[in-house]
Amino acid sequence: MLQKSNLDRRVSIKALLADRSDALVVTGLGSSCYDVGTMDHPRNFYLWGGMGGAAMIGAGLAIAQPKNRVIVITGDGEMLMGLGSLATIGAEKINNLSIVVIDNELYSETGMQPTHTSRGVDLAAVAKATGFIKTATVSTLPELKTWIPKVYSSQGPLLLVIKVNTNRHPLSIQLRDGAHIKNRFREALFGVNAFD
């Protein structure tokens, strides 16, 4: 097994989203939602449910918005629930989609039970096997920083696993109403035409 990572999840997210420009972000539920909430933006779509759906929401969005980069930021448990979607995205070769998995090898929300990534399941290898163009696993900040430009501009689909430590952080986002999150996102993209 890999040596445990010392990287903090919030440090990773801050580095990842510091220069996000026009990118569209979809989160998975749980800790990845709260992490991205510390960097709130109207172009963020937060999932508070629908476990396993983040990657495919990103896929539909990326197909609809081919000129924008779509970045799905989710956790290892959420990604494991949607493994089939990696096959769909790999087969479709959705080239403006990047998936970033914040991997602490635990289900943090439900009592820190280990996920399969703690027992050798390699999400980057799965993505590569389904046809993702670029995949990697990083576990230090310098390594992560070399991958951030690729997340925003390499031909996708791309999947980056960021191995992080098991630190938990306070819930940092109060925005929970799904209809509001959706409408805010569409308004950011389409202005007054969002409600046509």
Binding site: L24, V26, F45, L47, W48, G49, G50, M51, G52, G53, A54, A55, M56, I57, G58, A59, G60, L61, A62, I63, A64, Q65, G82, G84, S85, A87, T88, A91, E92, G178, A179, I181, K182, F185, R186, L189, F190
Partner: protein
């Protein structure tokens, strides 16, 4: 025994539905194949203005169509009734966010079915969808399918609701195993 129905390749409703999908500006097609949907799926794939995506499970399509709407595209989910059971939790996201969603479902397990394993989900399809907050139209007359898809799709996208058209097994036809 009278043959069930004309083979789907001779029926006109699949291409009538295809024309309606174009008319209501559907851009993304998410599907898990079903024999009854094969003509429609083929037509959608041939249309370069549509993106037709084959899924590993129907639940992916519910999520994909949420993403398509976020990005300004209208979409449709095509599946067999057995796939409805795979969608239930993700339909909660559609409901909470008031995403519009149009699903077209070919029915099994309700009319002349030969496979007993199709009965539990087939008989539960309509109730499961309604329990998940989906407006359901169940059509057993092929002549009504085009206008039903038009009305259901129009309502879904204009009211931000999930809606499904169930295409009855009576329309799709069934295998007559008595011969």
């Amino acid at each position: 025994m009278k043959a069930a129905k004309k083979p789907e390749s001779e029926a006109t409703w699949p291409l009538e539905i295809y024309e309606v999908l174009k008319k209501i500006r559907i851009r993304q097609i998410a599907y898990v194949p079903d024999a009854g949907l094969s003509v429609l799926i083929k037509a959608c794939h041939a249309n370069k203005e549509m993106r037709s995506v084959s899924l590993t499970t129907e639940e992916e399509g519910v999520a994909m169509l949420a993403g398509s709407w976020l990005g300004g595209d209208r979409g449709v989910l095509l599946m067999q009734s057995s796939g409805v059971g795979n969608c239930i939790n993700m339909l909660g996201t559609i409901s909470e966010c008031r995403f519009p969603l149009l699903a077209i479902v070919t029915m099994r397990g309700e009319w002349g079915e030969f496979n007993p394993w199709q009965l539990p989900m087939g008989q539960g399809t309509l109730k499961a969808l309604e329990n998940a907050g989906v407006v359901v139209q169940h059509v057993t007359d092929a002549a009504l399918l085009g206008e039903t898809v038009f009305a259901t799709g129009t309502m879904a996208f204009q009211t931000n609701r999930a809606a499904a058209v169930l295409i009855g097994q009576r329309v799709v036809g069934f295998k007559d195993w008595s011969k």
